[in-house]
């Protein structure tokens, strides 16, 4: 279990003319959780989106199973679940319809019972047939999170997953994350909330320690990784 599944090599990301980070390298193996820290604007979201393949990095590569993700997009996407700031839900569709579309496109065949079970787990038993627009913010977030249980992806990338969740739901999500990591899954997440995360091999990544000029960058790391303890 020591082989690193996800490897990031000398990654550099730029927004506009501003360099967010450069020379960022780390690797992640099965059964580990990476907690990305950093102040606003340090490039946390950009890093997560770059790993998910939504942002094209200026330099460096992202490897999954020893091959760059760009070359095996479909295979990598099958292992990936990214939940960002947006819910990624169609408000006019019901929770079931929303989840069904993504399950179909991922090649997973799910039925109403599985969806109901997943939503029930997140405390939304009665919401299967309701259009998402009538739900509250927290409930919408939970519908989105239900995808974690339905699609059997190995790598979860969660950008601020605890936003809008009540205490009980936070506990619930933590439990789901722990179970996933214990099961050999991988999680990369950011959060501003004080949440006690401790699951599997825990790594921390700190972004945005020194703001750098593009030309001076290179030797000095703008991010640091603490090894698993």
């Amino acid at each position: 279990m020591d082989k690193a599944l996800l490897e990031i090599n000398e990654l550099e990301c730029v927004r506009g003319d501003k360099q967010l980070f450069s020379d960022l390298s780390f690797s992640l193996q099965a059964g580990s959780l990476l907690h990305v820290h950093g102040p606003n604007g340090s490039g946390k979201t950009t890093l997560l989106r770059a790993i998910a393949g939504l942002v094209l990095p200026e330099n460096g590569e992202i490897c999954w199973n020893g091959e760059t993700t760009g070359k095996q997009k479909d295979d990598f996407n099958r292992e990936l679940l990214y939940l960002g700031h947006h819910y990624g839900l169609k408000f006019e569709l019901t929770g079931y319809e929303n989840l069904k579309v993504f399950a179909n496109l991922s090649g997973a065949d799910i039925n109403e019972h599985e969806v109901e079970a997943a939503l029930t787990k997140f405390g939304l038993a009665h919401c299967v047939e309701l259009p998402v627009k009538v739900l509250s913010q927290g409930q919408k977030r939970r519908v989105a999170l239900a995808r974690l249980l339905l699609q059997r992806s190995k790598l979860w990338i969660l950008d601020e997953p605890f936003v809008a969740l009540d205490a009980a739901a936070v506990e619930l999500l933590l439990g789901v994350i722990k179970a996933h990591v214990a099961d050999g899954g991988m999680v990369i997440l950011t959060t501003h909330q004080e949440v006690a995360i401790d699951a599997g091999q825990l790594q921390h990544l700190h972004l945005g320690q020194q703001p750098l000029d593009r030309q001076q960058a290179g030797s000095m790391p703008s991010a640091s990784v603490t090894e698993p303890h």
Binding site: V14, G16, D17, L56, E58, D213, R214, Q215, Q216
Partner: protein
């Protein structure tokens, strides 16, 4: 061997572009003077069109350049998208205004030529319409580029548009062969590997001199344009700051 890769970084390309721009600028002015002299005084009167045909010496080079610049621009855009090189995208965007200018000139001189010869400023035949579309494509390219704030996205999005529009260039070129249009065919054709021109030799030379004048002008102008783009985009870079300090001193 000339090391291309050395000059693919903006910092080392900037001074080179400056020297090239001056060289091409001078060459284009000299050729333009010779070319214009030849167009007006050396080239003989045409047996059919009289003196009016002389507008050809600006119309044809402009039309050629309008298509050629588009192809070059699309190649730069493609290179910029494939290898993620900033300089190629900057070259593409600095070629666009010159290309649009030549398209505009080709359309206008065409209209001025068409009125006395054909009897109409404008007809909706395939050649004219496709050249007009080319102008729209240039305008669209520039509009899209300026509408996007993030320079990286701007370069890639406009580059993609340039690539989509490239399909129009062969349509312009072959329109006079494919359709029975009012516009005459090409005077210079590649036949069996050789080049055949249906005009007298001195006219052909005049045309070639004018074409090279336009070509060098396009190179000079777009190189000096790319220099200012480099300064603008790389304003944070150390070498730009050093350069500006040097200039102030």
């Amino acid at each position: 061997m000339f090391n291309l890769f050395k000059y693919s970084s903006p910092a080392s390309f900037y001074p080179l572009a400056g020297r090239l721009a001056v060289g091409f600028g001078i060459a284009s002015v000299i050729l333009l003077v010779i070319g214009l002299y030849m167009s007006f005084f050396v080239a003989p009167t045409d047996y059919k069109q009289g003196e009016g045909y002389r507008i050809m010496f600006i119309h044809v080079p402009a039309a050629w350049m309008s298509m050629w610049i588009y192809v070059v621009m699309a190649c730069f855009a493609a290179a910029g998208m494939i290898w993620n090189t900033r300089l190629s995208s900057m070259m593409a965007s600095s070629l666009a205004p010159t290309g649009a200018m030549f398209t505009f000139v080709a359309l206008w001189t065409g209209a001025l030529w068409g009125k006395p010869m054909w009897g109409a400023w404008w007809v909706w035949d395939a050649r004219l319409t496709s050249e007009l579309i080319l102008l729209f494509l240039y305008v669209g390219f520039m509009a899209l580029e300026s509408a996007i704030d993030d320079p990286r996205r701007a370069a890639r999005a406009s580059g993609l548009l340039a690539l989509v529009g490239v399909i129009n260039v062969p349509i312009i070129y072959y329109s006079v062969q494919w359709w029975n249009t009012l516009h005459q065919g090409s005077s210079i054709k590649v036949v069996d590997g050789g080049i055949e021109a249906s005009m007298s030799e001195i006219m052909l030379w005049t045309l070639l001199v004018m074409t090279f004048a336009c070509w060098f002008y396009a190179v000079a102008v777009s190189l000096s344009r790319v220099r200012s783009t480099i300064l603008e985009r790389e304003s944070d870079a150390v070498w730009v700051k050093a350069l500006l300090k040097e200039r102030k001193a």
